[in-house]
């Protein structure tokens, strides 16, 4: 057992000195390899964390939202709809919601105006999102005016800035009272933007949605699960775009790795021949070369993954956040909660470390099984 351990120590020692002897080549390879892992891991970590954040945000959303459609476009819910829903079994809670978009020509950004259902806001006051507050330079107590779509000017006092930990969803949010909202957008009493429904039993959601579709042929029910799926698709698509671009880099790396692997230098071949001639077994040579490849690929994986983690969760993915987050005038400032998916790590490990190890071992094996007497012939 001791001899076995000593032998492994000698092999690792020799491997390290072998790596050090080809310092420039191995450092270059490590750098490129690390960069690839960093790129892939950053995209994966970022989109995964975004998906998680979206899921968390939507966890508090209603199970079903009912929107009225006119000529295929979203229209206001007329009076009486809310009362009719009450007769559908399984609906635990229903409420009409008031929200809309407002384009602010000053900063060329869209705001979401909304009446909170469980919060009383004094008439003439607003609570605004942190993104908007930054864009307009607002502080509590400031006065702000908006010209409504009817041309009338409305002035509001800022009563509060929404907490920045909710900025992912509240960057462009403006909360105001129901009376102010109806007056600003000229929406008559009894009309709502849409209706939010809570359903106690998740298995009932689809049934209730189909009943709603039957009962209100001019309306469409939107399920929370569908929104989640849409988010998934959007992030998957963006992840796909970045990965498609990254595939060029991966291809370049694959060529580099293949060249290193298949093109064993004359020096390396000679070295393998010498080792065999002086008494190393083919297995010893393979083990030594395997350690060499494993050290490079695992170091690259570790460094690449750690830097990607820091990049995404400490430096807000500054390198490619614009592509992955999408475009906005009011970019929310938010810190993603660190989430690591074991399966994702394993996939990345498999697709970066394994092909490299395999690509390097095959030609080494071919060199290692040649007769050692070649060394005698120079």
């Amino acid at each position: 057992m001791n001899a076995w351990i000593e032998k492994q120590r000698y092999l690792i020692d020799f491997t390290l000195s072998s790596l050090a002897r080809r310092k420039a080549k191995n450092l270059g390879l490590l750098l490129v390899y690390t960069l690839i892992v960093f790129l892939l891991a950053s995209v994966m970590l970022f989109t995964h964390a975004l998906r998680q954040a979206a899921a968390q945000v939507l966890a508090g959303a209603p199970e079903i939202v009912l929107q009225r459609m006119v000529a295929g476009r979203h229209d206001l819910i007329p009076p009486g709809y809310l009362e009719r829903i009450g007769r559908i079994r399984g609906v635990q809670q229903k409420e009409g919601r008031l929200w809309g978009y407002y384009y602010d020509p000053v900063v060329k950004a869209n705001y979401t105006f909304m009446v909170p259902n469980h919060q009383d806001i004094a008439a003439g006051t607003l609570f605004v999102g942190a993104g908007m507050a930054r864009a307009r330079g607002l502080a509590i107590g400031n006065l702000i005016s908006f010209r409504s779509y009817s041309g009338q000017l409305f002035s509001f006092t800022i009563a509060g800035i929404l907490p920045s930990d909710s900025e992912l969803v509240s960057a462009d949010l403006v909360l105001l009272s129901e009376a102010d909202f109806r007056a600003f957008f000229a929406i008559a009493a009894g009309h709502f933007t849409d209706i939010a429904l809570s359903v106690a039993n998740p298995l009932e959601v689809r049934n209730i949605a189909s009943k709603l579709a039957q009962q209100f042929p001019d309306a469409r029910p939107i399920l929370r699960a569908e929104i989640l799926r849409t988010y998934e698709s959007v992030f998957n698509w963006r992840e796909g775009i970045v990965l498609a671009l990254a595939s060029l880099a991966i291809l370049a790396f694959a060529i580099l790795a293949w060249e290193k692997a298949s093109g064993l230098s004359a020096d390396e071949k000679r070295e393998i021949g010498i080792l065999k001639a002086i008494g190393w077994e083919t297995g010893d040579v393979l083990k030594m070369k395997f350690w060499e490849g494993a050290l490079i690929s695992q170091a690259a994986f570790l460094i690449g993954y750690l830097t990607a983690y820091l990049h995404v969760f400490r430096f807000s993915s500054s390198l490619f956040a614009p592509v992955l987050k999408g475009w906005a005038v009011l970019y929310p400032r938010f810190e993603l909660s660190p989430v690591i998916d074991g399966f994702q790590v394993a996939t990345l490990f498999f697709f970066t470390v394994f092909p490299y190890a395999a690509a390097t071992l095959v030609p080494i094996w071919r060199a290692a099984i040649t007769d050692p007497d070649a060394v005698m012939r120079g």
């Binding site: 001899a3 000593e6 002897r21 001639a277 050692p372 060394v375």
Partner: protein, 230 residues
């Protein structure tokens, strides 16, 4: 000690360029003697040396090392025998560049997995015996030809083999260094080693240190000339 019976070696067998390097060699090499194979290029000396040293297998024929028939052994066992019983000194020295003299000397012992300190001390002692202590940490590519050969000799001795195999050991040395090598050879014989070498250098084959010279030509052993030392 080493017995060769009807050894044949063919390269590229079955192809158009099939070539027979050895054509039925029968030979007995006694232990603790210095034997030299002499002959022109292409006479089969190096091929024969590589078969004796378990670096390659004969196409047909038997090789006995002591009482053991080693001609049909699989590679793993041949490697084991090569490691334990033979030490090699190659014509081009075949040292690994970038490693120090001492690391090169220790290399053949790595697969045996012995204790590091013991191995280290043995390497130091061998380098000391060959007057290379002061150069032990130097990378081998910075050593002179003579020093490189002495490192190769130390490497051949690290596993304390019974048989030393040297292929054209003086081909890359000037006369002074060649004589120095012969002195080392005498010491090796003095400590009971069997030495088998190839050479066509008169300094080697005509030396009194060499007990037996075997002439080769075209893959066959040529009978000794009357009056020669073979």
């Amino acid at each position: 000690m080493i017995e060769l019976k009807d050894i044949h070696k063919a390269f590229n067998a079955g192809r158009e360029n099939e070539f027979h390097a050895l054509k039925g060699i029968d030979l007995h090499l006694p232990a603790q003697r210095v034997t030299a194979f002499r002959g022109p290029s292409g006479s089969g000396k190096t091929t024969l040396l590589s078969i004796i040293g378990c670096l390659s297998r004969p196409t047909s024929g038997r090789v006995h090392l002591g009482d053991r028939d080693i001609s049909g052994l699989p590679e793993r066992f041949l490697t084991d025998i090569r490691r334990q019983s033979f030490g090699f000194i190659f014509q081009q020295f075949n040292l690994i560049r970038g490693l120090s003299a001492q690391e090169n000397v220790m290399l053949p012992a790595y697969p045996l997995g012995g204790h590091w300190r013991t191995l280290h001390e043995r390497a130091e002692r061998l380098l000391g015996d060959l007057r290379l202590s002061h150069r032990r940490a130097a990378a081998v590519e910075h050593l002179s030809g003579g020093e490189q050969q002495r490192v190769a000799i130390a490497r051949a001795l690290i596993n304390d083999p019974q048989i030393i195999i040297a292929d054209e050991p003086t081909a890359n040395l000037d006369s002074a260094l060649a004589l120095e090598f012969m002195a080392i050879l005498e010491r090796l014989h003095g400590i009971g080693k069997t030495v088998i070498l190839t050479s066509h250098d008169p300094l080697v084959v005509d030396s009194a240190i060499v007990h037996q010279v075997i002439d080769m030509r075209d893959g066959c052993i040529v009978p000794p000339l009357p009056g020669g030392n073979g």
